[in-house]
């Protein structure tokens, strides 16, 4: 039996344990918790489950991105991780922007996150939203000052 290393997938998890750690660190770098602690970091969400449900094409791209970062990446300070992600984003703009889209998509679909930003959880339909009618008495001034529409020349 081969000895297990950090880069060998030894179970049915789609990412190696090293990739999982890098993913968690990457998520916490791209979308860390808010300074006041009210907003969770993206690493607190199950991004992998989201990615697997979203598209089978997403995982290989994610793995390729994670392989740009070394095993020490998760243990580096935030400023160091930020610099490395910025460097990656600069040289792999499309791959990074695609990943960022999915991270945001996962994050802002989450019911807890939506509650924290003041958005209703779940699908908009059939719940709908309530919108204030607004003060239409403000139109009195419009009618009063209007010179009317431009009439066609005769």
């Amino acid at each position: 039996m081969r000895p297990m290393t950090n880069d060998v997938i030894a179970n049915d998890h789609p990412l190696s344990s090293a990739q999982q750690q890098r993913l968690s660190a990457l998520l916490d770098t791209v979308l860390p918790a808010s300074e006041d602690g009210t907003m969770p970091s993206a690493g607190k969400l199950d991004f992998l489950a989201f990615a697997l449900a979203r598209s089978k094409d997403l995982l290989p791209a994610l793995a390729r991105t994670l392989d740009h970062f070394d095993d020490e990446f998760p243990d580096r300070p935030l400023s160091d991780r930020l610099a490395r992600v910025q460097e990656y984003a600069g040289t792999n703009a499309k791959a990074f922007n695609d990943l960022l889209f999915h991270i945001y998509d996962c994050y802002y679909q989450d019911d807890r996150v939506r509650a924290l930003i003041g958005a209703m959880p779940g699908a908009p339909f059939p719940r709908g939203n309530t919108v204030e009618p607004g003060d239409l008495s403000l139109l009195d001034a419009v009618v009063e000052r209007s010179q009317g529409y431009r009439r066609p020349p005769r």
Partner: protein, 538 residues
């Protein structure tokens, strides 16, 4: 029904089941003629629209994008926008672009039909507002339009339903306009504010431009088409027309189309009506070449595909300290301002623009657009920047009148084709000097009103790329066959049984969303046809 009987000759063949095709089909049903509509797309299903799911926003960037090149559906056709700073956006299916439109539903103004007389530019239309007024009203009733009577910028009109709620976004912006003494009014919207004709009212879901799961938005698949079909019109989907054919007398005698299996079919017809709008209609006409029309059908004037008009659009977004609940409510329908709609000698451009106040986006779109514009970073600053903007923004979309220029064209791309091998359209377009000046003016005035409304931060976009909704002018109407493609009631000058009823017959563009006017024109043309049935081809 076998294919042979399926393709029995019809009296009237309409190509395209969108805004104008639906209206003309509905109107012609009272003639009892055999009417067939061929539509290249499918019926859409409201339970499939994105707002049924949690991932509704992401779908707007993919399968429900407004851009056919992004959607990449087999039922769409690709469009080469490389030579244009504005991308064409549309939808192909029953309902056409009304499936994804914002449903902002202003009419053109009376002055829009007399541009030459008023301002000495472009041309007057061969019809005017007064002639179209009954058809505007009829269309409002069939579609289901909400709005408020009394707008001083129009002749009297009475929308059938009360206005949609303007919300905190509308009220905040209205106060800004009032402070400056500028015009504003609740938008006429093809969205029902109360239950109407068996449909339930708008639920304020937000993203109308990915389809309305509630059915509160008045797309023609749920307004005109059910009535037209009940009255006997046949609507055949997944049928993509390649070309219109001619008989020996120079009259259209039918079309060649591909069915959903890619099978080439022929449909014979006594009358052919084009309703594919400003890109689709010239595409088919230009692809219908013959010995009599080597440059495309009905093109003796050489103007088919020329004079393409969009509405160049600038955007001003204001960020407000107070929460505006911006992501709630019909995104494109709130209030508008016509303060700068008409020409003014003191400005350095002619004609004008409509300021359309739009509500904000959902959280994913806010974050993604914030990333693209550099206003919401990823990383440690994300939450603070996001919090400042999400539900705290209002935007002004300045819809600028575009004047016709022959250099702005729809042609057939020599390489690009759709899935049936039909040449795709190529757009060649430049923003004119007049439009540039108008865009600059609209940005400055937009910033002014945002400041008056109390915005703490203002960002702007001087020309929106994904804004080619309004596709106009490529088969213009007119009395002179040398300078127009169709006459004052949409009949081709060259082919007496060929009609065009969509946005391509616009002589000028006005400065408002055109669907209301497109449909009023289609109803008007149908009425003239009905009155002239005995001598339709004289």
């Amino acid at each position: 029904m076998d294919q042979a009987s399926h393709n029995e000759p019809v009296d009237v063949l309409i190509i395209g089941a969108g805004a104008s095709g639906a209206a003309v089909a509905w109107s012609l049903t009272e003639t009892r003629m055999r009417i067939l509509c061929l539509e290249q797309g499918d019926w859409t299903t409201s339970s499939n629209y994105p707002t049924n799911g949690k991932n509704w926003e992401a779908q707007q960037f993919g399968a429900y994008s407004i851009d056919p090149n992004v959607r990449g559906l087999e039922t769409d056709y690709p469009i080469n926008n490389d030579a244009s700073p504005i991308d064409v956006v549309n939808f192909n299916g029953v309902g056409g672009s009304t499936i994804l439109y914002a449903a902002h539903f202003p009419r053109l103004h009376p002055s829009d039909f007399k541009v030459k007389s008023h301002d000495g530019v472009a041309d007057d239309w061969p019809v005017d507002y007064e002639q179209l007024e009954p058809y505007f009203a009829q269309n409002d009733r069939v579609m289901g339009v909400s709005g408020l009577a009394g707008d001083p910028m129009y002749p009297p009109k009475q929308p059938p339903l009360p206005p949609l709620p303007i919300g905190l976004v509308g009220e905040t912006m209205a106060k800004g306009y009032d402070k400056l003494g500028w015009h504003w009014w609740p938008s006429d919207s093809a969205i029902i504010s109360q239950p109407y004709e068996g449909r339930d009212k708008c639920l304020n879901l937000g993203p109308c431009t990915s389809g309305c799961a509630q059915g509160g938005k008045s797309s023609t698949d749920i307004t005109y088409w059910p009535q037209a079909i009940r009255s006997g019109v046949e609507l055949r989907t997944r049928c993509r027309v390649r070309e219109i054919t001619l008989n020996g007398h120079g009259m259209a005698d039918g079309v060649i189309y591909y069915d959903k299996d890619g099978q080439e079919c022929f449909q014979k017809a006594e009358v052919v009506i084009m309703a594919c709008n400003g890109v689709g209609t010239p595409r088919i006409l230009l692809n219908s070449k013959s010995a009599q029309f080597p440059d495309g059908l009905a093109n003796n004037s050489g103007l088919v595909g020329k004079n393409l008009m969009f509405h160049p659009v600038s955007v001003v977004q204001g960020v407000f300290e107070e929460r505006l609940d911006s992501h709630k409510g019909p995104q494109g329908c709130c209030i508008l301002s016509k303060e700068f709609y008409e020409s003014d000698e003191d400005r350095d451009f002619v004609r004008g623009y409509n300021m359309q106040i739009v509500r904000g986006a959902g959280p994913l779109t806010t974050a993604i657009h914030g990333h693209a514009s550099g206003t919401i970073p990823w990383g440690p600053g994300h939450h603070e920047a996001f919090r400042k903007r999400f539900d705290h923004v209002a935007s002004i979309v300045n819809v600028c009148e575009d004047l016709p220029e022959e250099c702005n064209t729809v042609t057939l791309d020599p390489q690009l084709t759709d899935s049936d091998g039909i040449p795709a359209p190529k757009i060649t377009y430049r923003v004119s000097e007049n439009s540039r000046k108008m865009l600059a003016h609209s940005l400055a005035r937009g910033k002014e009103v945002m400041q008056a409304a109390g915005a703490s931060e203002i960002v702007s976009n001087e020309l929106l790329r994904a804004a080619g909704w309004h596709l106009l002018g490529t088969a213009r109407m007119g009395d002179d066959p040398a300078s127009s493609v169709v006459n004052s009631w949409g009949r081709s000058h060259d082919v007496k049984n060929l009609f065009v009823v969509d946005g391509s017959i616009f002589v000028t563009s006005g400065g408002v969303n055109p669907t209301s006017t497109i449909q009023a024109l289609a109803l008007y043309i149908a009425d003239v046809m009905k009155k002239n049935l005995a001598n339709l081809f004289d």
